[in-house]
Amino acid sequence: MEFFRIKKSIPFMRHALVFNAISFITFLLAVFFLWYTPLHLSIEFTGGAVMEVKYDKPADIEQIKEVLTKAGIVGAEPIKFGTSQDVQIRLPLKAAEGAEDQNKAMEKLKDTVMTSLKSVDASATLVRNDFVGGQVGKELATDGAMALLFVCIGIMAYLAIRFEWRFAVATIIANLHDVVIILGFFAFFQWEFSLPVLAAVLAILGYSVNESVVVFDRARENFRKMRRATTEEIFDAAITGTISRTIITHGLTQMMVLAMLILGGPTLHNFALALTIGICFGIYSSVLVACPLARYLGVSREDFVKTEKKKEGEPEVISAAP
C-alpha cells in the first residue's frame, strides 16, 4: 500500500502567504473567542465542588435544576455525564469570610444537594465527589502557566542549540499558535478545561514540535545536497519529502486518540478532544507555518551549512612533526 506518490516537489512555499493568512485569521478568531467567552475552567483551577450522582433510571436534568433552585442553591450546574443515568453537578465556591468557614459552607452545600436530590428520587447515589479550595485552585493555575513557560523555553533552547535561533523562534510561534487555537476551541464550545486537558496541550506542544524538527532536519540535509536550489525550493523539497511520514505518524497517533475519544468515557473525553485538535493543527502549523516563518526571519544556506564547513576544515590543520 502506498498513499503518497509525489513525484515532484509541491510548491508549498509559493502559497506561504495563503497559509499565513489562514493561520492569522484562525489565531485571531481563537483570541477573540478566548476574550469573548472565557475558558470554562474546571474546579481544579477555580475552586469549588463537583458531585457525580448516579440514578437507577434516566435522570431528569430540568427536574434536578428545579429541586436545587427550590433548595436555595445558587449557581449549581447539573449536566448529563456519560450515560443518561449519570449527572454531574458543579458547585461554585461559596464565598465566606475565613477559609475555615468556606469548608463548612461547602460541606453543608453538598449535603443540601444530596438531601434534595434524594427527596425526589431515592435512587440517587453519590459516586464521586471533588472539592478544591480556592487557594489550591490558584496554585494549580500558576503551576500550569509555569509548566507552559518551561516547555516553551526548553523547546526554544533545544532548537536554538540543535539548529539556529531563527528556527527556534519560528517553531515556537507556529506551535504556540496551535495552543491558542486549542484554547480557542475550548472557549468557543465551552468545553471544560481541566488539568488533564492542560496535560494534553503540553504533550501536544512537545509532539508537534517534532514535525518542525523533522522538516528542518531534512532542509538541512537538502541544503547540503542541492547546492543550486533556492531556499524556497529547499523547503518545498523538505516538506514534500517528509509529508508522507508526517501524515502517517499523525494519523496513527490520532487512531489512538480516537479510541480514547470514543471508548474512554467522559473523563477522557476532553483530554482526547484537545489532542485531536492539537494533532490536526499540529500537522499544518508545524510544517506550513514554521517554514515560511523561518524564511521570513531570513534563514539562508549559510545558517545551515556553517557548522559542517568547520568540520571539513579540520584536516587542514597540520601540526609539525616532532
Binding site: 518551561f150 533545544y158 517534532n210 508522507s244
Partner: protein, 626 residues
C-alpha cells in the same frame, strides 16, 4: 551485513524476559482478603496467627490462606465469607488490633519473592477518598506564644522581678518595667531559661520595654513538629478506621495528604479524618461558679466571660467557664482506653500522659485537689467541653476519668482523647472521593481504548508496511510490556490519565517505526540494495527519533515538575515511555529485522510495501539555476 552481535540479542531477550516477569503479576487479578495489624503495643506475630486460626476454626469459617508478612497477617477467602471473617476476628481480637477488608493479588508467591508486584492503582481506578489538608500554622505559633507568655510570667514571679505587666502583641511578648535594673535582671533570666526567645530592649516615655519573640529556628522547629504531630494523629485516626494501607504523608511545608484507597464508606472516612480537632485540659474557673451542679455557670450564657477565663459549651449544652491557662495539650496524651471502675462501678476512661504532661498534671492536681478540670475538644475553632470531672487525688502521668453514663460513652471519649491529639487545627483544602464502581468503570474504559487503539494501529501498520509493519507492531508490543514492567517495578501509582498516557505514548512511539520504514522505502527508491537500505534507514532515522523524543521529554518534565495529582501520573508514564520507545523502536525492531534479513547474501526484495517508483525529489528533477 545487518547482523547483530550475540550480546545485543542477549540484552534484548533479557530485557524482554525481565519485563515479562514484572508485568505478569498484573494478570492474576485480585481476591478478597482480610488483614490484621496490631495497634500500639500489640504486634502481629506467630502467636497471633495461631489465635487467628483458632478464632476462624471456632467460627467455622474456611479460608484459603493465613500468612504472616512482616507485621501484617493476611487472610484470603472467598468473597462471601470476607465480611464474616472480619466480624469474627474483630470480635475475638478486640480493640488492640485493626481488622481491615482488603484485596490481595493472586499472583504466585515466587513472583512476589522476586519483588514483582502488580501496579498500584490510583484512587480514580480503585475508588477511595483523597484529602489534602492544610495545617493552620498561625494557630500553632499563637499557641506557642501563649505558652511562652505564661512561662515568662512564672519566671519573673519566681525570681521576684517586678514589672508593670506582660502582654501579647501578635507574635511578640511585651514586658514593661519601671526600673532598668529589673529589665536587665529579667533579660538575664529569660536568656538562660528560655534561649528560644530573641529579646529586644526599648524605652518609651515612662517605661522600659522588653520585647521577646521566638527565634526563626524555633519557629521552624515548631512548624515541623506541628505538622509531624498532626500526621501522627491523622495516622492514628485513619488506623482506627480499619482500612488497609492508608497513605498519610507530608506535602509541601504545611500540607498533609491523606489517601484511603478502597474505602467502602467515604462518608465515614471523611467524618473521622475531617474531625479537625485538638485537645486541651484546663482548670474550670470555679471561683466564678454558683453551686456544684451542671448549671453552675448558667448566668454566663448571656454575660461575657470574666477576665482570664473562656466561656465554652459542654457536651450536654451546659455553659462552662474555664481558665485561660492550658494544663496539658492533647499531644501529651499517649493513650486513652475505656475501662471499668471496680470500686464504684460504672464506666471509666484510663488516660496515660507522656512525662512532660505527667509533670504538669502532678503539679496542677496537687494545687487543685477537689477542683474540676475540663477536657476540651477544639473542632474547627469551636471548643467543646467533653467532660469536666472533679480532681479526686494527686496524680501524674496515669489517671482515670470516671462517671461515664455507659460503656459506649467511655469508648467514645477514649477515642476522642486518643485521636484528637492534633497540634494545630487543619482544614480540608482538596477532596476527592470516588466510588469503587466508578473506579472499575474507569479501568475498563481506559483499557478498552488502549486495546482498540492498539488494534487500529496494528491493522494499519501491517497493511501499509507488510512484514516491516509486523516488526513495528511487535516492537510496539514490547514497548507496552517494558512500560508496564517499569511502572510495576517502580510501584508508580496508575491513574486514568496514566492509562491515557500509555495510550498516547504508544500512539506517539509508532512514529519512530514510521520514520524508519519510510526512510528504508526512500533509500530503496533511490536504488540502494535492500541490505544497504535497512542499514541506512535505521542509522539516518535514529537522529530524528532522538530529536523528536527530546522535545517530548521537555513537555513531560514540565508536567512532572509542575503537575499535581493525576497529571503527575500522566507525566511519569510520558517520560518513562520515551526511554522504552527508543529502546524498542530502535533495538528490538532492528533485532528482529536483522534476524529475518541479516547475513543473507541475496535479498532481492524487502517486504515493506510498495516502493516501485523512482524517488520523487532529487537535485536532477529541480530546474537548474543559472
Amino acid at each position: 551485513m545487518n547482523k547483530y552481535p550475540a550480546w545485543k540479542y542477549v540484552v534484548i531477550v533479557t530485557a524482554l524476559v525481565v519485563a515479562f516477569f514484572y508485568t505478569a503479576p498484573n494478570f492474576f487479578g485480585e481476591s478478597p482478603a482480610v488483614q490484621v495489624t496490631g495497634l500500639r503495643a500489640n504486634k502481629a506475630d506467630a502467636a497471633l496467627v495461631t489465635r487467628v486460626q483458632d478464632a476462624l476454626k471456632a467460627a467455622n469459617l474456611t479460608t484459603t490462606s493465613v500468612l504472616l508478612n512482616g507485621e501484617v497477617i493476611r487472610i484470603k477467602m472467598d468473597a462471601e465469607s470476607q465480611l464474616k471473617v472480619k466480624d469474627a476476628l474483630q470480635a475475638k481480637l478486640g480493640e488492640g488490633y485493626v481488622v481491615a477488608l482488603t484485596k490481595l493479588t493472586n499472583s504466585p508467591d515466587w513472583l512476589h519473592k522476586m519483588g514483582a508486584e502488580p501496579l498500584s492503582l490510583g484512587l480514580d481506578l480503585r475508588g477511595g477518598v483523597h484529602f489534602l489538608m492544610e495545617v493552620d500554622m498561625k494557630f500553632a505559633v499563637n499557641k506557642a506564644v501563649d505558652r511562652y507568655t505564661g512561662d515568662v510570667r512564672v519566671m519573673l514571679r519566681d525570681k521576684k522581678i517586678y514589672h508593670n505587666g506582660i502582654s501579647k502583641d501578635g507574635e511578640n511578648i511585651v514586658v514593661r518595667f519601671k526600673e532598668e535594673t529589673e529589665l536587665k535582671r529579667a533579660t538575664k533570666e529569660i536568656e538562660t531559661q528560655a534561649p528560644e526567645l530573641a529579646l529586644k530592649n526599648s524605652q518609651d516615655a515612662a517605661e522600659f520595654v522588653l520585647t521577646a519573640v521566638m527565634k526563626p529556628e524555633t519557629q521552624t522547629k515548631l512548624r515541623d513538629s506541628a505538622i509531624q504531630q498532626n500526621i501522627t494523629a491523622l495516622r492514628k485516626r485513619v488506623n482506627e478506621l480499619g482500612v488497609s494501607e492508608p497513605i498519610v504523608q507530608q506535602q509541601g511545608q504545611e500540607r498533609i495528604l491523606v489517601q484511603i484507597a478502597g474505602c467502602l464508606d467515604p462518608a465515614q472516612c471523611k467524618e473521622v479524618i475531617g474531625r479537625t480537632a485538638s485537645l486541651e485540659l484546663r482548670l474550670v474557673a470555679e471561683d466564678q461558679a454558683s453551686g456544684q451542679n451542671i448549671d453552675a455557670f448558667e448566668r454566663y450564657r448571656t454575660e461575657p466571660a470574666p477576665f482570664g477565663t473562656d466561656k465554652m459549651i459542654g457536651s450536654r449544652g451546659e455553659v462552662v467557664l474555664v481558665k485561660k491557662q492550658v494544663v496539658v495539650t492533647g499531644d501529651k496524651v499517649t493513650d486513652a482506653q475505656p475501662g471499668f471502675d471496680s470500686q464504684n462501678g460504672g464506666s471509666t476512661v484510663n488516660v496515660r500522659l507522656d512525662s512532660a504532661g505527667g509533670r504538669a498534671m502532678l503539679q496542677t492536681t496537687r494545687e487543685n485537689l477537689k477542683r474540676r478540670m475540663a477536657m476540651i475538644m477544639i473542632e474547627n475553632d469551636k471548643p467543646e467541653v467533653l467532660t469536666w470531672p472533679v480532681i479526686q487525688g494527686e496524680f501524674g502521668p496515669q489517671f482515670q476519668i470516671s462517671g461515664m453514663a455507659n460503656p459506649n460513652e467511655a469508648k467514645n471519649l477514649a477515642l476522642l482523647l486518643r485521636a484528637g491529639a492534633l497540634a494545630a487545627p487543619m482544614k480540608i483544602i482538596e477532596e476527592r472521593s470516588i466510588g469503587p464502581s466508578l473506579g472499575a468503570e474507569n479501568i475498563a474504559k481506559g483499557m478498552n481504548s488502549l486495546l482498540f487503539g492498539f488494534a487500529l494501529i496494528t491493522v494499519f501498520m501491517i497493511a501499509y508496511y507488510m512484514l516491516f509493519g509486523v516488526v513495528s507492531v511487535i516492537a510496539l508490543g514490547a514497548n507496552l510490556l517494558f512500560l508496564i514492567a517499569i511502572l510495576s517495578m517502580l510501584q508508580a501509582t496508575m491513574t486514568l490519565p496514566g492509562i491515557a498516557a500509555i495510550a498516547l505514548t504508544l500512539g506517539m512511539a509508532i512514529d519512530a517505526n514510521v520514520l524508519i520504514n519510510e526512510r528504508i522505502r526512500e533509500e530503496l527508491r533511490n536504488g540502494m540494495s535492500p541490505q544497504m537500505a535497512i542499514q541506512t534507514g535505521y542509522d539516518r532515522a535514529l537522529d530524528t527519533i532522538i530529536d523528536s523524543n527530546i522535545t517530548t521529554l521537555i513537555a513531560g518534565l514540565a508536567l512532572l515538575i509542575w503537575g499535581s495529582g493525576p497529571v503527575r501520573g500522566f507525566a511519569v508514564v510520558h517520560c518513562l515511555g520515551i526511554g522504552t520507545s527508543i529502546f524498542s523502536a530502535v533495538m528490538v525492531s532492528r533485532g528482529i529485522v536483522n534476524l529475518i534479513y541479516g547475513g543473507k547474501k541475496k535479498v532481492s526484495k524487502l517486504l515493506i510495501g510498495n516502493v516501485a517508483w523512482a524517488k520523487p525529489v532529487s537535485e536532477k528533477s529541480l530546474p537548474a539555476k543559472a
